[in-house]
């Protein structure tokens, strides 16, 4: 289909983007990679009067290690994240998730900032962001602020982002001590979106006891969630397969599940456990 007509503005800086958004009073949308927005425009699920293209803003690109976290600029593509030596060294599970996003074209054009801002309930990165307690840097009319991802994603395609706000970067804290992580996903055969996607992190102490466990789950319902019940069943217990198996059974204790033609609600509940187990098993030391 053909989108409704819209005006096009190209911002040279984040500040200018915010000002442009502000001047259009909620009628404008930010365009970065366009891989979420353009389909919505074509389906006429949204029809902004103006698109503010932030694609040329250099400061939004790139990945840098800042202290104990990796900061990924909003315009960094999934392919760049997947290929980044920094990401692979410090947060291999993020690279693993990035290389499973959508398809080749989406990974080469779609951006991390756009992905997070779009908040698709079946998107891969939010599961990793949740598991790592990522923080989103947002610039709005009142300046910059940092929002934890759990406070950022509020519902399906719904975020805390204001009408004149721009995502600047996503900071992924690098877990401390001895840890491993993994991202496991059942992709929809047509779209590549997660039917169930699970990001897991397990940190252990020297005695082999789990001291830190994080599980972020996406694709199964209205929004991605942290499986706190699973985490609680892991922490303080020995890092064994048996413990993981029992913990994974609690993957559907939280979260709001829903079904569609491809996978029923029950099937998604089941997959949440299966993929939680898979991700956790691979996160064992």
């Amino acid at each position: 289909m053909i989108p409704a007509s819209f005006a096009y503005e190209r911002a040279q800086s984040v500040r200018e983007a915010v000002e442009l958004l502000e001047s259009h009073q909620g009628e404008a949308k930010v365009l970065s990679g366009g891989h979420s927005l353009i389909p919505l425009l074509k389906l006429r699920l949204t029809s902004p009067t103006v698109l503010v293209d932030i694609g040329g803003i250099a400061e939004l690109k790139g990945i840098s290690a800042e202290g104990d976290r990796l900061v990924v600029g909003a315009l960094t593509t999934h392919a760049e994240v997947a290929a980044s030596p920094e990401v692979r060294r410090h947060l291999p599970l993020l690279a693993e998730a990035a290389r499973q996003v959508g398809d080749l074209q989406v990974r080469n054009r779609g951006t991390v900032g756009g992905n997070i801002a779009h908040a698709d309930p079946a998107s891969d990165l939010p599961a990793v962001a949740l598991a790592l307690d990522a923080v989103i840097t947002v610039e709005g009319p009142a300046g910059r602020s940092e929002v934890p991802v759990e406070d950022f994603i509020l519902g399906p395609l719904l975020t805390a982002l204001g009408g004149s706000d721009v995502v600047v970067s996503v900071a992924f804290p690098i877990p401390k001590g001895k840890w491993k992580g993994a991202y496991e996903k059942y992709p929809h055969p047509a779209s590549g979106y997660a039917v169930a996607g699970v990001a897991a992190v397990i940190g252990v102490d020297d005695g082999g006891t789990i001291r830190d466990a994080r599980v972020g789950i996406t694709g199964v319902g209205d929004m991605p969630y942290r499986a706190r019940d699973v985490e609680a069943a892991l922490v303080g217990n020995p890092a064994t397969e048996e413990v993981v198996r029992r913990a994974a059974e609690r993957a559907d204790a939280e979260g709001s599940f829903s079904g569609d033609l491809f996978a029923s609600e029950d099937y998604r509940r089941h997959l949440s456990k299966v993929y939680t187990r898979r991700a956790l098993m691979r996160s064992l030391p």
Partner: protein, 802 residues
């Protein structure tokens, strides 16, 4: 013979249309355009069942750019179509019966204007109760969808005394099977170009599998002589039966005649989904019994087919299903009854396999269940019940003698894949445990016993206990041609063209099946000529004679038989001309590359003969497809046979079934075109894979839930097994002069039941409903808590540098 590049040798040819297709150069009929052309579009019902109270088109007609708006009032002839019973309104008058029913059509200068005009047509509907299942249609209080009621067609075939025979059976298996509403999903959606001539004639460029049938139906609708209509129907971007019936042709033709300008129509995928035909969903109840030795005694079948809103070929499809529910087995007592029932669920019609795919899934399921209940090897069980060379057909009719069933049975028995079946269940305790768990939970109703096989090759080493493998196989007997009682004409023409080409013309279509390549090879065989000497004309009612339909696995046999009838006349006539020109006696002359040869020398070129005039060098033949002499409706005379064996892997944690390898053994007479034959079987294999594992045009309240290919999932290259082997059995009995049989359908039938049997072996779960549900196969993780197993590996989704 294993069909591949090596065994095919010089017969492995690139199809003549291959390069143009893969480079995108080939113009399909929906690619055509014409100066001054306008765009047609069709307004379809938003309701599955409603009364039309009023249709107002004034506002649409006034829209700038709109050149014609038509409704039922603008149909000059019969406002109905349908190959078998014309009961589908071209444009609905007072009632719509499915969400694709056409109510009006528009032609406009642009697609945008045409689309806008559709929105301006006001139709007042009054919704009527919806019949969304055959059961609802048969309920006593159900509204009548057609004047004759809700049963389009009932079939009944009976021999022996089934009820009496069941009393003598040692084992009886009773099961109900269900099959999905499969969509043809051709790449090229329905469309075409309609060009009115200054002489009142009309040229139709639109895909169909029977140009002369379209011409007849269009003449009836347009109230025009058939001879004033030219139907060009080839090449086609896929059909699989789905374009055999009229689709957009009536609207293009009416609009073109109405506005006097060329009209182009090309449906979107969603229009194709809502208006297009589907494979009949069927519920098939079978009760089958054997004696203590495992010999089939009695077989009772009830078929309920959802034929949707209109007839099209619903009746013959049911007839075919009725015949094929008996299959290649000797069963003395048989009772088959079927109903094709009208509903408001789209329109079901012709689809590759023609009702056979559904009933063979059921029949082969019965064979596997019976064998297991008897503790017999599933293939050995089939052997002792298999038909012999001179046995009558499934309906007791006389058929051409054939030992195809025995040949394919032997080939599968010797296959390495089948051998792997016996290497499995007996030496894997974990699987046996699972089997028992399933049986005790009631998902299967016959006892599970280990197979009789010995140790066999070691089972593949699995990385995870929830990943299970199984092997299954199935037999197929498939009728060729339309069957007794349906006109099944055949014919063709050969001649020397003015340019000196050996020109053949058939009223058949190239829709991807490889007819052009098959014809080229047949002509080279018959005349020893070069490919460059050959000119082929297909699918054009002005240029090719009536050859019957390109359906029912009949085209290859029909063109082969036609060419064999024509060859002596043509060769002799050409040689006589060459003899006159060269002075060499006819008896010393023969056709060859580039012209007529005597010994090692070419004495006259075809072009030289043509330059002297081609009159008297054209020959035409008309005949009828071979038919059984016994007046049993729908009974076939020629059959092909196939055996399919497959190995699957099932992940019990996700319920995902992966087909690892498939072998097909096909007995269809001599192989004309090895690449085409292989393509048909591999392509049919892919369609059967979709039928078995993923495809279903789901409806909710008679509305499509799957509106496009993002929800209606078809197999891609990721789903197709890496290893597909095809063994062609070319032997025919002595005195069988019918030549090669078509293989367009037979490869699409057997894989689904073979997968179901393999899944049974892998998981212990019997499959009685397609597509196989992942949820039916998945097991709780706790099932595997006691397995001490290594982890699953991470899927590698590949590098970004694509």
């Amino acid at each position: 013979m294993k069909l591949d590049r090596e065994s095919a040798g010089a017969r492995w040819i690139v199809r003549p249309d291959g390069c143009d297709k893969v480079t995108g150069k080939l113009n399909f009929l929906t690619d055509l355009s014409f100066p001054g052309m306008v765009y047609g579009t069709i307004l379809r019902s938003p309701y599955p069942h409603a009364r039309i109270k009023a249709i107002r088109t004034d506002a649409a007609a006034r829209l700038p750019g709109v050149v014609a708006v038509i409704t039922h009032r603008d149909v000059p002839g019969v406002n109905r179509f349908g190959i078998m019973y014309p009961d589908q309104p071209v444009l609905c008058e007072d009632r719509v019966r499915f969400v694709g029913d056409a109510v009006a059509a528009v032609a406009a200068e642009s697609e945008e204007a045409a689309g806008e005009a559709l929105r301006l047509i006001e139709v007042e509907y009054e919704e009527l109760p919806v019949i969304d299942s055959p059961e609802a249609a048969l309920a006593p209080e159900a509204p009548r969808l057609h004047p004759g009621g809700n049963v389009l067609h009932r079939t009944h075939y009976e021999r022996g005394n089934v009820e009496g025979a069941f009393r003598r059976c040692a084992v009886i298996v009773e099961e109900t099977y269900e099959t999905p509403r499969q969509m043809h999903a051709y790449m090229e959606t329905e469309g075409g170009l309609f060009v009115p001539g200054p002489d009142g004639k009309l040229a139709v460029y639109a895909p169909t599998q029977h140009g002369y049938m379209d011409r007849m139906q269009l003449a009836r609708i347009l109230a025009m002589p058939e001879t004033d209509i030219r139907v060009v129907s080839s090449p086609i971007g896929g059909s699989f039966g789905g374009k055999d019936e009229l689709n957009i042709q009536p609207y293009g033709a009416l609009l073109a005649l109405c506005c006097g300008r060329p009209v182009k129509i090309h449906q979107s995928r969603w229009e194709s989904v809502r208006a297009g035909l589907k494979r009949h969903p069927m519920k098939i109840a079978m009760k089958t019994g054997v004696d203590a030795d495992g010999r089939l005694l009695a077989h009772r079948v009830r078929i309920l087919a959802d034929t949707g809103a209109y007839a099209t070929l619903g009746a013959p499809v049911l007839q075919f299903a009725t015949e094929h529910a008996v299959g290649p087995y000797r069963i003395p007592h048989v009772d088959v009854e079927g109903w094709a029932v009208y509903t408001n669920n789209g329109v079901s019609g012709e689809f590759r396999g023609f009702g056979g795919n559904q009933v063979v899934f059921a029949l082969e399921g019965q064979m596997d269940r019976l064998a297991e209940a008897l503790g017999m090897d599933a293939w050995e069980f089939r052997r002792i019940n298999l038909r012999g060379m001179d046995d009558p057909g499934p309906l007791g009719q006389r058929v051409a003698p054939t030992d195809g069933a025995r040949h394919v049975w032997e080939t599968i028995r010797r296959s390495s894949l089948w051998e792997r079946r016996s290497g499995r269940t007996t030496d894997r305790r974990a699987e046996t445990r699972l089997h028992q768990r399933d049986v005790s939970s009631g998902s299967g109703h016959v006892d599970v016993r280990p197979d009789n096989g010995g140790s066999g090759p070691a089972a593949a080493s699995f990385s995870s206990p929830w990943v299970r493998r199984g092997v299954g196989a199935a037999m197929v007997m498939h009728g060729c041609g339309l069957g007794f009682g349906i006109p099944d004409p055949a014919g063709g023409r050969i001649g020397l063209s003015a340019q000196g080409n050996i020109q053949v013309a058939f009223g058949h279509e190239e829709f991807g099946q490889g007819l052009l390549a098959s014809l080229q090879l047949m002509i080279q065989d018959l005349f020893a000529c070069d490919p460059g000497d050959i000119e082929i004309i297909l699918g054009d009612t002005d240029r090719a004679p009536h050859s019957g339909s390109s359906t029912a696995s009949r085209t290859t046999s029909m063109v082969w038989q036609a060419l064999h009838r024509l060859q002596p006349h043509f060769s002799r006539a050409v040689c006589e001309r060459a003899s006159t020109m060269s002075g060499i006696p006819v008896s010393h002359l023969r056709l060859g590359p580039g012209g007529v040869w005597a010994g090692p020398e070419r004495v006259v070129r075809y072009r030289e003969i043509a330059e002297k005039g081609t009159e008297g060098l054209q020959f035409e033949t008309q005949f009828h497809f071979p038919v059984t002499p016994d007046a049993i409706m729908g009974g076939h005379y020629l059959y092909t046979f196939a055996g399919v064996v497959t190995e699957v892997e099932v992940n019990l944690l996700t319920g995902q079934v992966t087909v690892l390898g498939v072998e097909h053994a096909v007995a269809a007479g001599p192989v004309v075109n090895p690449m085409g034959y292989l393509g048909q079987i591999e392509g049919g294999n892919g369609m059967a894979l979709g039928f078995a594992l993923m495809e279903d045009a789901v409806m909710d309240g008679s509305r499509y839930v799957t509106t496009n290919l993002d929800t209606y999932l078809i197999p891609t290259i990721r789903d197709v097994p890496e290893r597909i082997e095809v063994y062609a059995i070319e032997d025919l009995p002595p005195n069988d002069n019918y030549g090669p049989r078509g293989v367009g359908e037979v490869g699409s039938v057997g894989l689904a039941p073979a997968i179901a049997a393999a899944v049974r072996q892998a998981t212990g779960t019997w499959i009685n409903r397609l597509p196989i549900s992942r949820e039916q196969l998945m097991r709780p993780i706790s099932t595997f808590l006691h397995e001490n197993a290594p982890m699953v590996s991470v899927p590698d989704v590949g590098k970004e540098e694509g």
